[in-house]
């Protein structure tokens, strides 16, 4: 009874707020993730917004500014995929050596079980789970195996569908950039210090050399003198 009452109240909370002028009604207010309660959505004309962690099928990510695909064809996604629905062909160079880019990338959507392991394990953030769930068509064979063009979506789209995850990614990138910059600054400071120390040592060495040069001449002269003296003394004998 309490649960039913709660659902009933929650269903009309937004309406109460609107009636009492506390809130402006948006055209798609039922789509907001914070809206609770029981209500009917006139699908397909109306659609509920899916939560960010909602996952349907995997997609590959390319950079919006230059179209560069993030995938390096490492094959981890294909290895961890429980139903083994991913095929990757690695690009090869002119000498036949494998290169860190995908030449072909296929996902069989009939076999995919939407577990999201591929996106969890991808070390390059190249594969993510999409939100598009209206995928039915009248063709059974060819169109269910997605190739690289079918799978590639831009970073902009990912930022739209996964705003929190994208913000986290950006924060990590910024932090890494900061760390890298700090490391570079520290390295530059260390190099500068080393250079200064080396310069100081060189100056000290020069000073020592200039100081030791007269000392050695003065030290050598008396050494010669006694040596000469006995020889001179020896001569008369």
């Amino acid at each position: 009874m309490a649960i039913t009452a709660r659902h009933f109240v929650q269903t009309y909370v937004e309406d109460f707020k609107y009636w009492f002028g506390q809130k402006e009604r948006q055209s798609s207010f039922r789509n907001l993730p914070e809206v609770r309660g029981s209500f009917t959505v006139q699908y397909p004309e109306q659609k509920l917004r899916v939560p960010e962690r909602f996952r349907v099928l995997p997609v590959l990510i390319y950079e919006e500014d230059n179209g560069d695909c993030r995938c390096t064809a490492c094959g981890i996604c294909a290895k961890v995929c429980p139903p083994q629905c991913i095929w990757i062909v690695q690009a090869k160079g002119q000498e036949g050596k494998p290169k860190p880019k995908a030449n072909e990338f296929y996902i069989d959507m009939d076999v995919c079980m939407n577990c999201g392991f591929c996106s969890e394990f991808c070390p390059f953030d190249a594969i993510k789970m999409d939100h598009v769930f209206e995928l039915s068509n009248t063709e059974r064979k060819k169109s269910h195996v997605y190739n690289m063009q079918d799978l590639l979506v831009s970073t902009e789209y990912y930022a739209q569908t996964h705003p929190r995850a994208w913000a986290k990614e950006l924060a990590v990138i910024e932090e890494e950039a900061k760390k890298k910059k700090a490391k570079e600054v520290a390295a530059a400071a260390a190099a500068k210090k080393k250079a200064e120390e080396a310069a100081k040592a060189a100056v000290a060495g020069d000073a020592a050399a200039t100081a030791s040069a007269p000392a050695s001449t003065t030290a050598a002269a008396p050494a010669k003198e006694p040596a000469a003296k006995p020889s001179g003394e020896d001569k008369p004998q």
């Binding site: 390319y62 919006e64 230059n66 179209g67 560069d68 695909c69 690009a91 160079g93 002119q94 290169k99 860190p100 880019k101 030449n103 072909e104 598009v132 995928l135 068509n137 060819k142 169109s143 195996v145 997605y146 190739n147 690289m148 063009q149 079918d150 799978l151 590639l152 979506v153 831009s154 902009e156 789209y157 739209q160």
Partner: protein, 130 residues
């Protein structure tokens, strides 16, 4: 292998949307394409050079889309629009799209891809009137 039946699918999808402000981006896209093509031979290995040429071709594709005031977030959508609009109307030759696909797959030599990118830049410049 195609998921999309054609332009209608993309018009209704969240991946294609009209944005009048993109008309200003055409010249920037072409400048970027030229810059990337210029920088491509100085990259460290053949794969990176091919990738540089591909990036240049991608910027050309973006310029084409922006010239008709559209923006997309899906690679297949780029292919569909170029094929069903620009190539079907005889505005662009299909060889450019094939070269773009080859670049995406990192196929061919750096020289071939650089030539393809150069030809595409020239063709797109002609189309957009820059």
């Amino acid at each position: 292998m195609m998921r999309s039946p054609g332009l209608h699918y993309w018009v209704e999808s969240p991946h294609l949307f009209r944005d009048p402000s993109t008309a200003n981006l055409v010249s920037k896209d072409l400048e970027k394409a030229e810059k990337l093509l210029k920088e491509a031979p100085s990259r460290k290995d053949a794969m990176e050079q091919v990738n540089g040429a591909y990036q240049s071709m991608y910027c050309c594709m973006q310029a084409l889309l922006h010239s008709i005031q559209y923006k997309t977030t899906h690679m297949r959508c780029i292919f569909t629009i170029v094929e069903d609009y620009f190539i079907a109307k005889g505005i662009l030759e299909s060889v450019h799209l094939n070269n773009f696909l080859r670049g995406l797959k990192i196929e061919g030599t750096p020289q071939e891809n650089a030539q393809a990118a150069e030809a595409m830049i020239a063709a797109v410049k002609k189309i957009v009137g820059k």
